[in-house]
């Protein structure tokens, strides 16, 4: 059984780790969830703040319909149940960057219920991860503590920005699975266009819930639904990279096993992650937990819409990564692994498809994944920032496919497009630089004759060792400046040298 793979060895026996993720994804929207203020990132302090966001007396929230559509779209993308009746609740607590003194969220009746997604771990392993729910809520503002030794400042630009909180079921069984799930979720949201997934700007962040239990107990939990088979969990807040998710799970699992094995207990607590040390530490214990006094927000009516509205949105859904992967395999003859690599990032998949459309899919895949991605990796650039456009690369592949140039010349042209011939169409580069492959047999025969005449001892050798033919091919290629068609040269030489 596959669960053995995830066992962690302790001093006193084997343990299993159980992980659930609560991911906060900022809804891609021009304006905020309940106000007309801009939701754009990067404005000056308090520039994107409406009277509602600042909680002026008598101000009322008005729900942004587009954000609702985005949440529905995301629910559909997560293969989840969309609730046509949901409700907003107030979560009450005091904090300077929470101007209303409450956050408008969805507590008991979220807009999206249970769903499930497929997560690829590697070329051979795919797992299914359950989604518990998705709800809409407001973001808080930002407190800034380092501008003055005695005072804190508050920037309300984020206050009221729409977030989707996507809660997984506790079905992730390792750091690897948690990281892969987070990454896949990001891919899906970016495909849907419902979140930009920019983690460094805080558009996506995860609260990582980790617990450990004795080997075998998770299986019992799955059979019975009885949470007492699982260990006490800790929640580590605001993790904003896939790598950190992995670190948190690894660290917490090890720490919890150590505590338990030395006779201690795990406190149900909120923890913070230190990116420098890779460790977590207590932020708030259960005793200090807030009583949020959730209750339905009386300023807002229950959120209702029709099944038809949901179906209209479903009809407009873009192709999602799993569907695209399968189509790439079928349409372009790619391997599952190559296709998965390409679809992991929608921009990369789009780039590939532009290059591959109407061309040899495998050739296109090889050029995109090997040459181009290699280059981008080396230079630390994004696909959207590629120095070579999909049109250019496509045109280059055309030249290879119709035998105008050889693969070797193509690589040369690829290099030129990065440098002195940047932005040029490969066809023009071939013309200007006279790189066209020589298939004119007359010229090739002349070159072959010349080499044969100048190298009698090699000619003698090739009669016994046909493999030495390669040396002649190389010489002819050299003579023609690499422009000769290698197959044609091969044929001519075989004939002339009488090699089979």
């Amino acid at each position: 059984m596959s669960e053995n793979r995830n066992l962690l060895r302790g001093e006193t026996g084997d343990w299993e780790v159980v992980v659930g993720l609560e991911v906060h994804a900022q809804v891609l929207s021009v304006t905020k969830l309940f106000s007309g203020a801009s939701a754009a990132y990067g404005a000056g302090p308090n520039e994107n703040v409406s009277l509602v966001d600042a909680a002026m007396p008598g101000m009322l929230p008005v729900l942004n319909k587009y954000c609702v559509e985005q949440a529905i779209k995301t629910g559909l993308g997560l293969n989840a149940k969309v609730n046509t009746w949901s409700r907003f609740d107030r979560k009450n607590y005091f904090y300077p960057d929470l101007p209303q003194g409450y956050q408008i969220s969805q507590y008991k009746d979220p807009i999206v219920g249970e769903g499930e997604i497929e997560v690829e771990l590697d070329a051979d392993r795919t797992i299914k991860v359950g989604i518990e729910r998705l709800h809409l809520e407001q973001d808080a503002g930002k407190s800034i503590h380092d501008l003055s030794p005695k005072e804190s400042y508050v920037d309300l630009n984020r206050s009221g920005v729409a977030l989707m909180e996507i809660v997984s079921k506790p079905e992730l069984r390792s750091a690897e699975e948690a990281a892969a799930y987070f990454s896949k979720l990001r891919t899906i949201l970016r495909y849907l266009g419902t979140c930009d997934g920019n983690m460094d700007q805080g558009s996506m962040r995860a609260d990582v819930n980790v617990s450990v239990c004795r080997a075998g107990n998770y299986e019992k939990f799955r059979e019975t639904g009885d949470f007492s088979y699982l260990g006490t969990r800790t929640e580590t807040k605001n993790i904003n990279s896939i790598r950190f998710v992995r670190q948190v799970v690894d660290y917490e699992a090890r720490r919890q096993i150590q505590v338990l094995e030395s006779g201690g207990e795990i406190d149900q607590e909120t923890r913070l992650f230190n990116v420098k040390t890779g460790e977590t530490r207590t932020m708030r214990s259960k005793e200090d937990a807030h009583d949020y006094r959730y209750f339905p927000d009386p300023d807002l009516l229950p959120l209702t819409f029709s099944e038809e509205f949901v179906e209209e949105i479903r009809a407009r859904l873009p192709e999602l990564p799993d569907a695209k992967k399968h189509r790439f395999m079928e349409e372009y003859g790619l391997s599952g692994y190559d296709a998965a690599v390409l679809v992991a990032d929608k921009d990369k998949a789009d780039y590939f498809e532009k290059v591959a459309k109407g061309r040899d899919g495998k050739l296109a895949s090889s050029w995109v994944t090997t040459e181009l991605f290699g280059l981008l990796n080396k230079e630390g650039r994004e696909i959207t920032d590629s120095p070579i456009s999909a049109e250019q690369l496509g045109s280059l592949i055309d030249l290879i496919q119709d035998k105008t140039i050889s693969g070797k010349i193509a690589k040369q042209i690829f290099e030129l497009m990065l440098d002195e011939d940047a932005g040029k169409d490969p066809k023009d580069i071939v013309e200007e630089r006279g790189l066209k492959q020589v298939t004119d047999t007359g010229a090739l025969e002349a070159a072959a004759d010349k080499i044969i005449a100048a190298n009698p001892e090699q000619v003698a050798k090739v009669k016994d060792k046909p493999k030495a033919l390669g040396w002649f091919v190389g010489q002819v290629m050299k003579e023609t400046g690499g422009k000769a068609n290698p197959q044609a040269v091969n044929e001519i030489l075989k004939k002339k040298l009488g090699v089979e």
Binding site: V62, P96, P298, D299
Partner: protein, 491 residues
């Protein structure tokens, strides 16, 4: 020249239209009268310069034959309505110095119709109270006195400034708000007319929130016609308030003529309380007889859940208030009591900024929403509220209107009930049901008690039944012929 402040809004409208007097003259007359009535403490803030400028503009528009429905009519605005550029405190210390950069939708509607604003009217702090005694700016004094006494009486609350100002003719009409009876009870105690419209009829945008699911703005005026004129202007759909209802606003003044012939009016027997004031009972009976004499059919009806209305109200309203008032934290505007520790700053600011009654309600509200108590209090109260609304809807399948007293007593002396919050809360006993059910109610003066104090009767209508309600109110008003005035002891 006659005293312009004796004219109703309808009369002013006519006289201004005929150029018998100017808007500036009317406004000056009211400002003068208001300034000489400081003893009533009805206004927390007069804005004479703004008022005069608005009146001048009104005269210009009248001259240009561009008069709007309320052109040049001087109104007082309850200080719960945010008014652009004019300090708004909700009678709370915690909103010290707060000047809204925006105008509430209701007051903006009145301005757009040409009204002149004389100033901001006193109220119970955050509209929490039934006697106007919780105001940070001190209580309003009722212009009415018991015959032969000079005991200071309450004008009711929370819209005590509005009711007193209308009764003493310190404005032609006033805006008010009603969460559990805050328009109808003060109207009853001052011999004025007050309408609490259907929930969602008037926008709540820009009104300092007390209990969002109950708050509703409405007018207090001298007679039913004036109240109808003001409501026509105040009401309307507002996309900025998600709970406001998109439904055309009729000309409520046109509804007054219908009479009550053929209307079925219910007398809910549960409103006849044990130990009820006999005078109120008598006036209630008199009202029913008068309506019957005009052709209405009077029937007894039963609303058995009535006794739960007050307890439900005192769970729901504080719960919502505890959350609505969380924004007054000393961080953004209003009062801040400094401390280096943020939690201490919150505590000190809120302890200093909120009065005792507000603190009491915030604590009740916080309690009923707390883990472990939510189901027993808040959730149960919401369920009962739903049943009360259903029961109310059901009774309106039988009758067109309900007739009840507006308040359980006439105006009482300041300090008489303020030491006992529960007794104070009983003031809302006849009015809260309409708030819980979201239906409209109106209080109409019905006579004077033996001590010479006014008493009101209430008509309740089904949701958006304001026109029928006004028909009944106009008929009742005419039949009663209430024309008593308080003696002007305060001048």
């Amino acid at each position: 020249m006659t005293d312009l402040t004796t004219k109703t809004i309808a009369e002013l409208r006519e006289g201004l239209g005929k150029r018998e007097f100017s808007a500036v003259e009317v406004t000056d007359a009211y400002l003068q009268r208001a300034e000489s009535a400081a003893a009533l403490n009805a206004y927390v803030r007069l804005t004479p310069e703004k008022a005069k400028a608005q009146a001048e503009l009104s005269d210009q528009r009248i001259a240009d034959a561009e008069a709007r429905p309320l052109e040049g009519i001087p109104l007082g605005i309850k200080d719960l309505f945010c008014t652009e550029g004019i300090e708004t405190n909700a009678a709370s210390h915690i909103l010290d110095g707060f000047v809204p950069p925006y105008e509430s939708t209701v007051s903006a509607n009145l301005l757009a119709d040409g009204a002149v604003f004389l100033g901001k009217l006193n109220l119970d702090e955050f509209a929490m109270g039934s006697s106007n005694e919780t105001s940070y700016y001190g209580p309003v004094i009722n212009p009415w006195r018991r015959e032969g006494e000079d005991t200071k009486l309450t004008p009711g609350g929370s819209s005590g400034g509005s009711s007193a100002a209308v009764a003493a003719r310190l404005c032609a009409g006033a805006t008010a708000t009603d969460t559990g009876g805050s328009i109808r009870q003060p109207a009853s105690l001052t011999g004025t007319v007050g309408i609490k419209p259907t929930y969602g009829r008037c926008s709540r945008w820009g009104i300092v929130a007390f209990a969002s699911s109950l708050d509703q703005a409405g007018p207090i005026a001298r007679d039913v016609r004036d109240a109808a004129i003001l409501l026509t202007s105040m009401a309307g759909h507002d996309p900025k308030d998600s709970t406001s209802i998109d439904r055309p606003v009729p000309d409520y003044e046109k509804a007054l003529e219908g009479g009550v012939k053929g209307l079925k009016i219910g007398i809910p027997k549960e409103y006849r309380l044990d130990g009820m004031n006999a005078e109120i009972d008598a006036i209630w009976q008199k009202g029913a007889d008068l309506l019957k004499a005009q052709g209405a059919e009077i029937v007894e009806v039963s609303l058995p859940l009535t006794k739960y209305a007050l307890p439900v109200y005192y769970i729901v309203a504080p719960a919502e208030a505890s959350s609505n008032l969380a924004r007054y934290d000393g961080v953004k505007y209003g009062l801040r009591v400094h401390d280096d520790n943020i939690d201490e700053m919150y505590s000190k600011t809120r302890a200093a900024g909120f009065g005792k009654e507000v603190q009491r309600r915030l604590m009740i509200g916080t309690y009923v929403l707390s883990a472990g108590y939510y189901d027993a209090y808040y959730l149960r109260a919401q369920r009962v509220r739903k049943k009360i609304a259903d029961e109310m809807a059901k009774v309106f399948e039988e009758v067109d209107l309900l007739l009840t007293p507006s308040s359980p007593s006439a105006a009482f002396g300041l300090g008489e009930k303020s030491s006992d919050p529960l007794e104070m809360y009983l003031n809302d006993v006849f009015t809260v049901t309409a708030n819980l059910a979201g239906v409209p109610g109106i209080s109409v003066p019905a006579g004077l008690d033996a001590q010479g104090l006014p008493l009101g009767l209430q008509l309740i209508a089904p949701a958006f039944g304001e026109e029928t309600m006004l028909r009944g109110a106009a008929a009742l008003e005419e039949a009663i012929g209430f024309d008593a005035q308080p003696t002007e002891w305060w001048k």
